[in-house]
């Protein structure tokens, strides 16, 4: 499974990377939204994890860019991972095209449940290994 995490904070990347290691999964990392979009261009991902507040382009704009693509990558599942606790943050993210929202500090079971839901939703006939 190919996962990309777009996040400017190295510690946050490390935390999620190690969590995925527990499940036997790995991930690619992008330090900002611009390079994240480029990596989506070049490679095929099953899940994209996206921070919101980043220097340069912010996460919501990056999601808009992904959804505006004309190829099948436009529908890659996106999980927002944010420390923003504003009242309407979840709705705003979903409105912008995110599939799931996880609040920091990231709870491991919430992360895996979200990934699990997205995988299950996309492949009802997926083979369980």
């Amino acid at each position: 499974m190919n996962i990309l995490f777009v996040e400017d904070d190295a510690m946050n990347r490390r935390v999620v990377r190690d969590m995925l290691t527990v499940a036997g999964a790995t991930m690619d990392e992008a330090h900002d939204a611009e390079s994240g979009l480029q990596m989506i261009d070049e490679r095929q991902y099953d899940i994209v994890l996206m921070d919101l507040r980043m220097p340069g382009m912010d996460g919501l704009t990056a999601i808009k860019h992904i959804r505006a693509r004309t190829d099948e990558k436009a529908s890659v599942p996106v999980i927002v991972v944010t420390a923003d606790t504003a009242l309407d943050i979840c709705r705003d993210c979903i409105d912008q095209g995110a599939d799931e929202v996880i609040l920091k500090p990231v709870a491991m079971n919430k992360l895996f449940d979200a990934i699990g839901r997205l995988i299950a939703r996309g492949n009802s006939r997926m083979m369980l290994n």
Binding site: M11, N12, L87, G116, A120, R125, M126
Partner: protein
């Protein structure tokens, strides 16, 4: 000075709002009922019952909520008009709770909260009144109801005026006029309010101008009662300004307007003004005559009379006339009323500040100001007593002292008010900065917490962890979770103050939540050597509520109980109470401890933000002191409350009450029958991989009655003992290559009348036969698609449950 008009108008906020625009029978009938409130509240009350029934089962939830909330709002307004504020409050709270569950209509919510603010005003809850009016202002703005906003602003202004902060009051009255000027009644009230505040600030010319504007409107609407009152205000203002000719003219007009009709009842106040005017012109005989009439017609007249002003005027008249005994009587009466008025203003000021921010140092400041006032009036009272004891010969001298004392105490009040005003402005700035600070801080603290909690989770997920190390890491994680809870608490307070807190209800398992709470706190209680008892026999199972918020309240109450108890026990009980009259049920959750208790006079204080009973206790027991304030706010937002009964040294009992809405009925383990299909089964899956859990949880959602996950065989064995599991699905890697272990699990399943399925990736034939020998009869091999797995699992329901047999 006289403030009569505002209260009359502002209790009711109907107006041509958006609801009337919709042409449907309900909207028309609702508009008619609303108009009825002012004329005949009893009838409006009856109408609201009929309105509430104007829903049908075909209506959408949104529509039903709208209809019911509108009917409730009219009912509440009618009850307020009938002077039944407590009943109104109940109706409003339940309507608000119902609205939270559907798409909120900001306009209607705003009206309801404005009405609640009206109740708070009637019952003297300054803090609640201020908060509700501010919240209503915001919501009505979102709903596009400028008229309602103008009413909220005037209400806020009136609160400031009560606190003697006339400058801020004027600001709000001015904004009210700016925001909506299309309703003459409202505009009239705003101008009159402005006039009264300007009068208090001794800006007589401005006050006269404001009253004159109000008068023009009253004349246009041909309302004699209001014209008379405004003319009286003008006369009083002009008298103080020394403009006796216009004062006499206004007074004459007021007398003319109040002959006969409803205006006649306000003649007492008119005589008072007349006496004052005569006194100012040194027409002492006329003044004495008028003040006598003021007092005699005050008997049985409207309650809202400026008696304090009457006594002051009378004292001055009789002093001038040399009637010492009479003068002294009035001086005494005046002093009593003046004390009351100052106490009211001081407590309103204090409440105003509390409503905005409860910093201890600000409290201290108010107390200092209050003390200054108290010292001043005590000094004055001593002097008075001395005066009464002295011989009549010195009375005239003492009268002079008394007169000076009035001046002095008034000056002190004015100075205190000026000081309060400065503090208020500073507080407003501090509040805005604080909210911003809290939001930012919360965000910034979350980031390092992500590192701490993230890594402890990763470490604890590793199965080969030394037990000592595991214990230490769990401690770090516990501390991290506590810190996260504190940050969340702080953020919640900021959200409550800006009205951003929302309640989101869904079906939830209350019993499980309470059992969780007991489990979580048992460890803590054991380290303090206190017991935890619980009585959940009568506890409802599935209910409709906001699980996150309910958990927050219960955990807070449990945490407090354990924190403040050093010996004995903490008891958690839950039950429901039925109210036959309203056919509603109340959920009661009670946390009782045998701890240090709370002094009787401090019981309400503990529900204020940043408060524990004393600073020393805060240091000993830790915490932000936010918990109970949050609990109460949350409970009220859900239509309930948190209350406490406490005996110092013997313990406290906190009770959470909420309107109970039951979820779908469920079958308890006692009368559980074995599931006859996978769809009815309570499934337990052993899956060590957290991502695997996530995927299976999503795939199995809706396919079984319930799904739970464990990571190890031992946990599955424990769960089977509860008798609540119908089917165990084991991921092969969890069992390793251990046929005996698998056999033990299969046997435990058979004992618990549960089915057992082993999900295994390409099992080697010889190993597989060993498993079968140990009693593992149902093995499904991977890879397999989810639908195929489900149909494989369903197949076992055609067979009897495996009995405990070992094939060998």
């Amino acid at each position: 000075m006289i403030r009569l008009l505002a209260a009359l108008l502002l209790a009711f906020c109907g107006g041509a709002s958006a609801y009337a625009a919709k042409v449907d029978p309900f909207a028309q009938r609702a508009a008619a009922a609303r108009d009825e409130i002012m004329r005949d509240p009893a009838r409006a009350l009856a109408d609201s019952d009929a309105l509430r029934r104007m829903t049908s089962s075909h209506d959408s939830l949104e529509r039903r909520t709208h209809v019911e909330a509108t009917a409730d709002w009219i009912r509440a307004e009618a009850l307020i008009s009938l002077n039944r504020p407590q009943e109104a409050l109940k109706v409003i709270q339940s309507a608000l709770a119902a609205m939270d569950r559907s798409d909120p209509e900001p306009g209607l919510r705003g009206e309801l909260i404005l009405a609640r603010g009206g109740v708070a005003n009637l019952t003297g809850g300054v803090e609640d009144a201020l908060r509700d009016n501010q919240e209503a202002f915001r919501l009505l703005g979102r709903g596009g109801n400028a008229r309602g906003q103008a009413i909220a602003l005037q209400n806020i202004g009136a609160i400031y005026a009560d606190a003697g902060d006339y400058n801020n009051a004027l600001k709000y009255f001015g904004q009210s006029i700016d925001i909506y000027s299309a309703d003459p009644k409202l505009l009239l009230s705003a101008y009159n309010n402005q006039g009264n505040s300007l009068f208090e600030l001794k800006r007589y010319a401005d006050a006269t101008a404001a009253f004159s504007r109000a008068l023009v409107i009253a004349q246009k609407t041909n309302n004699a009662l209001q014209q008379a009152r405004i003319q009286r205000n003008i006369a009083a203002t002009q008298a103080e300004a020394g403009n006796f000719v216009p004062a006499e003219a206004a007074l004459a007009d007021a007398f003319r307007l109040s002959t006969g009709g409803p205006a006649a009842s306000s003649r007492a106040a008119l005589y008072g003004v007349a006496a004052r005017l005569a006194l100012r012109q040194h027409q002492l005989d006329r003044a004495a005559n008028m003040i006598d009439r003021a007092f005699s017609s005050a008997v049985g007249a409207e309650a809202n009379l400026p008696m304090r002003d009457f006594h002051q005027t009378a004292y001055e008249i009789f002093r001038e006339r040399g009637e010492a005994k009479k003068a002294l009587d009035h001086l005494e009466a005046f002093q009593k009323l003046d004390d009351q008025a100052r106490a009211l203003a001081a407590s309103t000021s204090a409440a105003l500040m509390n409503a905005r921010f409860n910093f201890t140092n600000q409290e201290l400041r108010i107390n200092n100001l209050r003390n200054e006032q108290a010292v001043a009036s005590a000094r004055f009272r001593n002097r008075m007593q001395l005066a009464l004891l002295s011989a009549t010969a010195v009375i005239s001298t003492l009268l002079l002292i008394g007169f000076l004392s009035i001046r002095r105490s008034r000056n002190q009040v004015r100075d205190a008010n000026a000081s309060l005003l400065t503090t208020n402005v500073a507080l407003e700035k501090a509040l805005a900065a604080k909210t911003e600070f809290l939001a930012t801080t919360s965000h910034e603290i979350r980031t390092p917490l992500n590192g701490i909690l993230g890594m402890t989770q990763v470490i604890l997920a590793g199965r080969q962890l030394d037990p000592t190390l595991r214990g230490r890491i769990e401690l770090v994680q516990g501390a991290g979770e506590t810190m996260k809870a504190l940050v969340d608490d702080i953020l919640d307070v900021a959200k409550m103050e800006t009205g951003e807190l929302r309640i989101q209800t869904a079906e939830m398992d209350l019993k499980r939540l309470l059992e969780d709470a007991v489990t979580v706190w048992t460890g803590q209680a054991e380290t303090k050597r206190i017991g935890i008892e619980f009585d959940l026999e009568q506890c409802p199972g599935k209910i409709i509520a906001d699980e996150v918020r309910l958990r927050q309240i219960i955990f807070n109450l449990m945490s407090n109980a354990i924190k403040f108890t050093d010996r004995g026990q903490v008891r958690l009980a839950c039950f429901s109470e039925a109210d036959e009259e309203s056919e509603s049920e109340t959920l009661v959750i009670r946390v009782a401890d045998s701890g240090i208790g709370i002094p009787q006079d401090r019981v309400e204080e503990i529900f204020e933000s940043f408060r524990q009973v004393d600073g020393g206790v805060t240091r000993r027991h830790g915490g932000t002191g936010l918990g109970l304030a949050i609990c109460r706010n949350l409970a009220r937002a859900m239509g309930g409350d948190v209350t406490v009964v406490s005996t110092l040294g013997a313990g406290s009992t906190f009770t959470l009450t909420l309107p109970l809405e039951r979820g779908t009925a469920e079958v308890g383990p006692a009368d559980r029958v074995a599931a006859t299909s996978l769809g009815a089964a309570n499934l337990l899956m052993i899956e060590p991989n957290p991502l695997g859990q996530g995927i299976m949880r999503a795939l199995l959602a809706g396919e079984c009655a319930s799904v739970q996950f464990v990571t190890e065989v031992g946990q599955a064995l424990d769960a089977l003992k509860t008798g609540a599991i119908d089917h165990v699905l084991a991921e092969g890697s969890a069992l390793g290559l251990d046929p005996a272990g698998a056999g033990a699990l299969a046997a435990a399943c058979a004992d618990a009348k549960a089915r057992f399925t082993l999900l295994w990736r390409e099992p080697a034939p010889d190993l597989l036969s060993q498993f079968v020998k140990e009693g593992v009869t149902h093995v499904v091999s991977k890879p397999i698609s989810a639908p195929d797995l489900l149909s494989e699992m369903n197949k076992v329901y055609g067979e009897p449950i495996a009995s405990r047999n070992i094939a060998a």
